[in-house]
């Protein structure tokens, strides 16, 4: 299956204007020059701390917020350039699972009717009976007990609701799921259940994932490829084995050390008061920083194994 990637992002920029006080408007560069591609049936992990811009990327992908610049190509078609009807057919191909399962369900409606919503809206090509069959299929696929289907969201636990949210996203038969911190608000004993469910569903429905998380462990076991973001920029990208096996960028190294609570191996300095807007964004915190780091850094392929790193010291 040497087809085009299901999702391709080219030079995505997103700038917010934030009103600090009367007359003072600041622009925040939430995403700068982000490019990546996701192959069918594979998983791309995006990791980074809060403020790294990973959620902004997710919202841009789904058209929940307009991009400032750049292109998002879904199955070779550019989003945004599409008409309303075409947009709807593309909505079907890309669905999202949100971070907070309780907040992502309308409290006034039953689980069944929430899960049915994208199906009814986006699959008007299916008859009502076909839709109902599909609904039962996905709810069963996520092993959500039938007795819970007609309950209100607050009667379900976080793990159960997150499974319902996955069913909702899968219902219109998408090619790509964007998972925004799908396990972050769940208990540890449930995390494994959701992750293994996602792995199983990927095999079963051959759907691609964009897995956004600050939980590096979750990304390590689920992702094929990984992007590491810091302050709106991609600082490292490569396969999961490369990035987690031998992290090249100082920020990646620090993140991995922190996630294992091994600060002795590699520690970043404290977060500064103001973030730099030019040169290496990590420079004020980086233990390896030198004078030359204040010049703009490019994302360059590393000489040895073809992955990309935004740091001149390692490339």
């Amino acid at each position: 299956m040497a087809k085009s990637p299901i999702l391709e992002v080219r030079n995505l920029f997103k700038t917010y204007r934030v009103r600090r006080s009367i007359g003072l408007v600041e622009t925040v560069k939430a995403a700068q020059d982000i490019s990546f591609a996701v192959e069918r049936g594979r998983t791309l992990g995006i990791v980074g701390e809060s403020g790294s811009g990973k959620s902004t990327v997710a919202r841009c992908l789904l058209g929940l917020t307009p991009l400032t610049e750049g292109e998002v190509l879904l199955d070779g078609n550019q989003l945004g350039a599409l008409g309303v009807r075409k947009m709807r057919s593309h909505r079907r191909m890309m669905q999202m699972v949100f971070q907070m399962p309780q907040a992502s369900f309308d409290p006034t409606r039953t689980v069944r009717s929430s899960v049915a919503e994208p199906l009814r809206r986006l699959r008007s090509d299916m008859s009502r009976t076909q839709q109902d069959e599909r609904l039962a299929e996905v709810l069963t696929a996520v092993s959500l007990g039938e007795e819970l289907w007609d309950r209100k969201p607050r009667a379900l636990s976080g793990g159960q609701l997150q499974r319902a949210a996955i069913a909702r996203a899968l219902a219109p038969d998408p090619e790509l799921l964007v998972l925004d911190e799908p396990t972050s608000s769940l208990d540890l004993s449930v995390r494994g259940e959701i992750l293994s469910l996602l792995q199983r569903l990927q095999e079963e429905f051959h759907v691609a994932f964009v897995l956004i998380s600050h939980d590096l462990e979750a990304v390590r076991v689920c992702a094929d490829d990984v992007i590491v973001m810091y302050l709106g920029q991609v600082v490292e990208e490569g396969t999961a084995a490369q990035v987690f096996g031998s992290p090249a960028h100082p920020y990646t190294q620090a993140l991995i050390a922190a996630s294992k609570f091994e600060t002795d191996s590699f520690e970043l300095g404290p977060k500064g008061e103001t973030d730099p807007t030019a040169g290496c964004r990590l420079m004020p915190r980086c233990p390896l920083a030198e004078e030359a780091c204040s010049a703009e850094q490019d994302l360059v392929p590393s000489a040895t194994d073809g992955r990309m790193v935004r740091c001149w010291k390692v490339s």
Binding site: L62, G63, L64, R88, R91, R92, Q95, M96, F98, Q99, M100, A103, S104, F105, D106, P107, T108, R109, S114, E117, P118, R121, L122, R151, K152, R154, A155, S157, G158, A165, R168, A169
Partner: protein, 306 residues
């Protein structure tokens, strides 16, 4: 702490009426009694022979029996024209309830939609909505009614509908529109960024889809609490406008105009002409506000659905 509560939604409507105390339940069932009267009022005359109380034609004067105090034949006495106050109070229940209900439903319904739309769109839509609200709310209620009568007084635009009633309904709507708009907007404003709204966008819902399927249902509790309260106010407004001679004109039965008719008699000791319609206004408002308090405890924070 997750406190999983079982399905408590189902009994919500029933529990709106029953509990928590016997007194409160009686207070609210009083409303149903009055609503029942309002519904059956036009047919009372047909069943006069089986009714336990004497009923008369509300519009036919009895010149031989004016200003009679309450007796077995005239439970609430008669007025200066000899009209039976009891029959007229019952008939007026129908008029006041109907006008209040239609007016609130019309203005409130539009207010809800506008409020939800303003909360969803924000920006200039929100600003325009709020300016309209402010303008409408800066008029004293009676002045607004007066202005409406001045504006529509001479226009014959309501066809076969009674002109005074139509303008009354419009006035009630104008008063309620901003109330509902404000309330619904403030409840829904925090929801615009909620994840379930984003999920609905991913599901392909447009702006109106989200407003209709997600926003309005989520403001349901507050709408439910506001509705009886505003109906009670509406009854007072109707009575007030009729009292100053706008809206329902005598001899048509209406509580406000009946109070007015008896106002001059009170000083002579003929209290019954004004007191009985007045008592009905008090009772209806009292029973209606009982619902508001109840729905606030039931659907407010810590209640069954929030």
């Amino acid at each position: 702490m997750t406190l999983l509560s079982p399905q408590r939604e189902r009994g919500l409507m029933a529990r709106m009426f029953v509990g928590p105390t016997v007194g409160m339940t009686i207070r609210r069932s009083l409303f149903f009694f009055m609503l029942f009267l309002a519904v059956v009022a036009p047919w009372l005359d047909d069943f006069a022979h089986v009714l336990p109380f004497p009923i008369y034609d509300p519009l036919r004067p009895d010149p031989f029996n004016p200003v009679s105090p309450p007796t077995a034949e005239h439970w609430f006495g008669t007025d200066t024209l000899g009209l039976d106050v009891f029959t007229r109070v019952l008939m007026a229940t129908r008029v006041d309830f109907t006008l209040a209900l239609i007016g609130v439903a019309l203005g409130g319904g539009l207010g809800c939609l506008a409020g939800a739309w303003a909360a969803y769109r924000r920006g200039w839509v929100d600003m325009v909505a709020l300016r309209i609200v402010e303008v409408l709310q800066s008029f004293p209620v009676l002045l607004l009614g007066l202005a409406m009568f001045a504006a529509f007084g001479s226009l014959e635009i309501f066809g076969p509908v009674d002109h005074g009633m139509a303008v009354l309904v419009l006035s009630i709507s104008m008063v309620n529109f901003p109330l509902y708009l404000r309330q619904v907007r403030s409840v829904l404003l925090p929801l615009t960024e909620a994840e379930f709204v984003q999920a609905a966008k991913c599901a392909g819902l447009g702006a109106w889809g989200i407003v209709w399927h997600h926003f309005i249902p989520n403001a349901r509790g507050q709408i439910l609490a506001l509705f009886p309260l505003t109906c009670a106010y509406a009854i007072q407004i109707i009575a007030g406008l009729s009292f100053i001679g706008l809206g329902i004109e005598p001899p048509n039965p209406e509580w406000g105009s009946m109070i007015k008719a008896g106002a001059t008699l009170i000083v002579q000791g003929h209290w019954w002409v004004s007191v009985f319609p007045g008592a009905f206004i008090v009772l209806s408002v009292y029973s209606l506000t009982g619902f508001s308090a109840r729905s606030e405890t039931l659907v407010g924070p810590g209640g069954t659905s929030a």
